[in-house]
């Protein structure tokens, strides 16, 4: 047996081994039955796999930002204080659209976060719309109330934020007096010229739950151009422009001349 023949035998042995491996390998699954039955089962499998893929994608999406927060809502008033005790108003931040919105001095904060911070509009004063989110069907609405304290110049002094429930009622059904009765504890400023009480209801992820979110929303509302001043109705437009879609807003304005109510938007 010469080398050539031996080499040929080795080659054949390798090919037979490969052939045997393919023969011994587990064959691929297929569907038995008539062609019609096979088509039906195949369609079912395709449907199931498609549904599983869609659920997986939805789950991933929820995990990365659409899922409701697992944080608990603080049971009592939560204060987000954006001013200092001295009422310092100098040093406005850049980017504000007008002098109607006061600057926000270095803040001291006493707050309990309600949930992870929302997408924050430009805290530096630029009017930035918050992210337009569509409420997730089935997501229970939550409600918070913001108190925006303004100084004599109309600037922002401080903001207080309180979680509040309206006994499963919609904001339009809430009476103005109920909004005024929301307890914020000790006001963060003395003798504010005007206080705006803003009730927000919507998905938790769309509501301000942190200092930055509340302050940014307040600045957004105050910085929006409006045709009047002092009346709560003047803030309806800005409020509707500054909150995410799906969030209801009800505004009450408390001025030194008394309370005035506003309609609910949207």
């Amino acid at each position: 047996m010469n080398d050539r023949r031996l080499n040929e035998l080795i080659r054949m042995a390798g090919e037979v081994s490969a052939l045997e491996r393919s023969a011994e390998a587990l064959p691929a699954l297929r569907l038995s039955g008539t062609p019609a039955q096979t088509r039906v089962v195949r369609r079912r499998w395709i449907g199931l796999l498609s549904a599983a893929a869609a659920l997986s994608i939805a789950g991933i999406g929820a995990w990365y930002g659409l899922a409701p927060s697992t944080s608990t809502v603080a049971p009592g008033p939560v204060v987000v204080d954006g001013s200092n005790p001295s009422g310092h108003t100098s040093g406005q931040t850049s980017g504000q659209t007008s002098g109607q919105a006061g600057d926000l001095p270095k803040s001291y904060v006493r707050h309990q976060p309600l949930s992870p911070a929302l997408p924050v509009p430009g805290v530096d004063g630029a009017v930035v719309r918050t992210v337009q989110n569509t409420p997730i069907p089935g997501t229970p609405d939550e409600s918070v109330v913001m108190a925006i304290y303004r100084d004599n110049a109309g600037g922002l002094r401080c903001v207080q934020l309180a979680a509040h429930t309206w006994a499963n009622r919609c904001l339009p059904d809430v009476q103005p007096s109920e909004l005024r009765d929301v307890r914020f504890g000790v006001p963060c400023v003395k003798e504010p010229k005007e206080t705006l009480l803003i009730a927000l209801a919507g998905p938790r992820r769309s509501l301000p739950t942190s200092e930055a979110g509340a302050v940014a929303l307040a600045k957004c509302i105050l910085s929006m151009p409006r045709g009047c001043d002092g009346e709560a109705s003047c803030f309806s437009g800005p409020a509707s422009q500054c909150v995410p879609a799906g969030v209801s807003v009800k505004i009450e304005a408390v001025a030194d001349r008394g309370w005035s109510s506003d309609r609910t938007v949207p």
Binding site: N7, R11, E20, A23, R30, S32, Q37, V40
Partner: protein, 229 residues
């Protein structure tokens, strides 16, 4: 309606049945067992022939039909002995022979050459003759290939080192000495020395010598040698 394995049928609902068991059943006349063998081995065999033919599907289809007809005939007539070679190896030997026969006819029909070397039973596979000797030659060829397989798989028993086994396998697969030397990080002379040492050990394992060209322990001459003679 349920998902089942492709080789599930009334004869063999259990896909874990080995080819040896299927061969035993086929030798007892069980047609379903032979169908299982055909189903398992047929795909790989077809793939191998397609590779050889450059993807000529019609040729491969014809050769496959010849192969399986010959295999079934050998089994049905009791000429295939499963104790001498595995059914896979025997089928391979039949297919290899059918392929070479096909090449010979192709060349002869076009007047390229008088005949290509390498067939032992071309007439039998062509249906012109079904003599017992042809199947026996194929059995001998398959048996020899199986012994080489055992030698390479249990190379330690044959005295082959890992390097020697790798060298002869790579060379048989078509890799050149120089390329193999570069890949293994050894010199070409080392590859050459190791190759010849491995050949000697394989010959010793097979019980043949290099002085008896192309004759195995069963007396079956190689396909090439028959045509060369």
């Amino acid at each position: 309606m349920r998902p089942v394995s492709s080789d599930s049928n009334s004869a063999d609902p259990n896909r874990s049945v080995t080819l040896a068991e299927l061969t035993r059943r086929a030798c007892q006349g069980e047609h379903a067992a032979f169908e299982q063998i055909h189903h398992r081995v047929g795909t790989g065999l077809r793939r191998m022939l397609l590779a050889r033919s450059g993807g000529r599907d019609e040729q491969v289809e014809e050769i496959c039909q010849q192969v399986w007809t010959a295999v079934w005939k050998a089994i049905a007539e009791g000429k295939y002995d499963p104790s001498r070679s595995a059914i896979t190896t025997f089928t391979y030997a039949v297919a290899n022979n059918a392929w070479v026969t096909h090449l010979r006819r192709f060349a002869r029909d076009r007047g390229f050459v008088d005949g290509l070397p390498g067939t032992v039973s071309a007439d039998a596979l062509a249906g012109e003759s079904t003599g017992e000797a042809s199947v026996d030659e194929l059995m001998a060829e398959a048996e020899l290939v199986d012994r080489v397989r055992v030698c390479l798989q249990d190379h330690a028993a044959a005295g082959l080192t890992d390097l020697e086994r790798a060298i002869v396998s790579a060379i048989a697969a078509g890799e050149g000495d120089r390329a193999l030397a570069r890949r293994l990080g050894v010199s070409s002379s080392t590859v050459n020395v190791r190759k010849h040492a491995a050949y000697a050990k394989i010959r010793a394992f097979l019980g043949v010598s290099g002085d008896t060209p192309n004759e195995g322990p069963t007396g079956a001459k190689s396909l090439d040698e028959r045509s060369d003679a």
